[in-house]
């Protein structure tokens, strides 16, 4: 898949691509945090170890950043 800087984007498509990217980035971050943070929270409620919640949250953030990097940054 060509890098985002090398794709030939027609000028009329360009605003749409940028706006889609700009609005989906915070959405990916939020959903990664909720999904894996929620999973971590459920795990910590189940096992009693409080540390799983922050681990899940940070893991969700890292995965969301990686998704944005693969999708928009290469």
């Amino acid at each position: 898949m060509p890098a985002m800087s090398e794709k030939k984007i027609r000028p009329e498509d360009d605003g749409r691509d940028f706006a889609s990217a700009a609005w989906s980035i915070p959405s990916y971050l939020l959903s990664g945090m909720i999904l894996y943070g929620g999973a971590g929270w459920l795990l910590s409620e189940w096992t009693g170890v409080v540390a799983f919640t922050p681990i899940g949250l940070i893991l969700g953030v890292a995965l969301a950043v990686y998704l944005v990097y693969r999708k928009y940054g290469r």
Partner: protein, 263 residues
């Protein structure tokens, strides 16, 4: 000592809280007909009246209301519809134009003297609009890309290595189907809610320190309150227009993404 105190003795300035948003029924007995409902109906009448008088009897060379109406139409078509919908923009202009003007008049109700309640600061109104766009998006996606194809295109964008998909597909699914309508509605609601509280707070500061409890030290604070109210009203009017534009733009983006999948 008492003339140097900021507040008159025995009085506390209480900032406005959530009681700003309680709405009492206007006609006794009809419990659902409250001020927000009346303002929503009024804005419907205003938008219909404006569009009818602008586009009802169109002339080739526009004059008067038709000129203003055409400016609004061109703005929505060029900034909201065409970037996201491309060739099909004209089909969706009715929906996008109505949504944009509706939300803008809803928001403007917050600064019109006498009315002064932004309709979108009751969560029900933005939620209904956002949910209708959400169901439209899913319906269009399934109709144009097939039920399996829609979810496959959404959750598995091409070009990523296979093992990543397991971790990232849930994030894509959650982001597109749950977070998107939620933020669509809450963005409008939170901006109008916060703006209304800010305006009420500064106006109350001005009124309290200048008229209710006038003290030598408190009067400059009241003047600051009045100046801030004027400044924040101007800022709020800009935010109202911007939020209406963003709401319509995101609706166009979601519809456009459903019609043609991301390539």
């Amino acid at each position: 000592m008492s003339t140097l105190t900021l507040l008159a003795p025995g009085d506390e300035f209480t900032p406005p809280g959530l009681e700003l948003f309680d709405a009492a029924p206007i006609i006794a007995g009809v419990s659902w007909f409250t001020k927000p409902v009346l303002l929503a109906l009024l804005s419907t009448v205003l938008v219909i009246g404006f569009c009818w008088s602008a586009f009802g009897n169109p002339k080739l060379v526009p004059r008067g209301v038709q000129n203003v109406g055409e400016m609004g139409y061109m703005f929505v078509r060029d900034q909201v519809a065409r970037p996201f919908l491309g060739k099909d923009a004209d089909r969706w202009m009715g929906l996008l134009l109505s949504m944009f003007f509706m939300v803008w008049v809803w928001n403007l109700m917050g600064v019109i003297p006498g009315l002064q309640f932004p309709v979108a600061s009751h969560i029900a109104f933005p939620v209904v609009l956002a949910l209708s766009v959400y169901f439209l998006k899913i319906y269009l996606g399934i109709k144009h890309q097939g039920a399996i194809g829609y979810f496959k295109n959404m959750m598995f964008p091409p070009g990523l290595p296979k093992p990543i998909y397991v971790l990232l597909a849930p994030i894509e699914f959650l982001s597109n189907l749950i977070i998107a309508p939620f933020t669509h509605a809450v963005r409008l609601f939170a901006n109008m809610f916060a703006g209304h509280i800010i305006l009420a707070f500064f106006s109350l500061v001005g009124f309290w320190f200048l008229f209710e409890k006038l003290t030598p030290l408190g009067a400059p604070l009241g003047v600051i309150g009045v100046i801030m109210t004027i400044a924040m009203t101007g800022f709020e009017m800009f935010i109202q227009f911007l939020q209406a534009f963003l709401f319509a733009m995101l609706a166009a983006m979601y519809i456009g993404n459903s019609l043609h999948a991301d390539h």
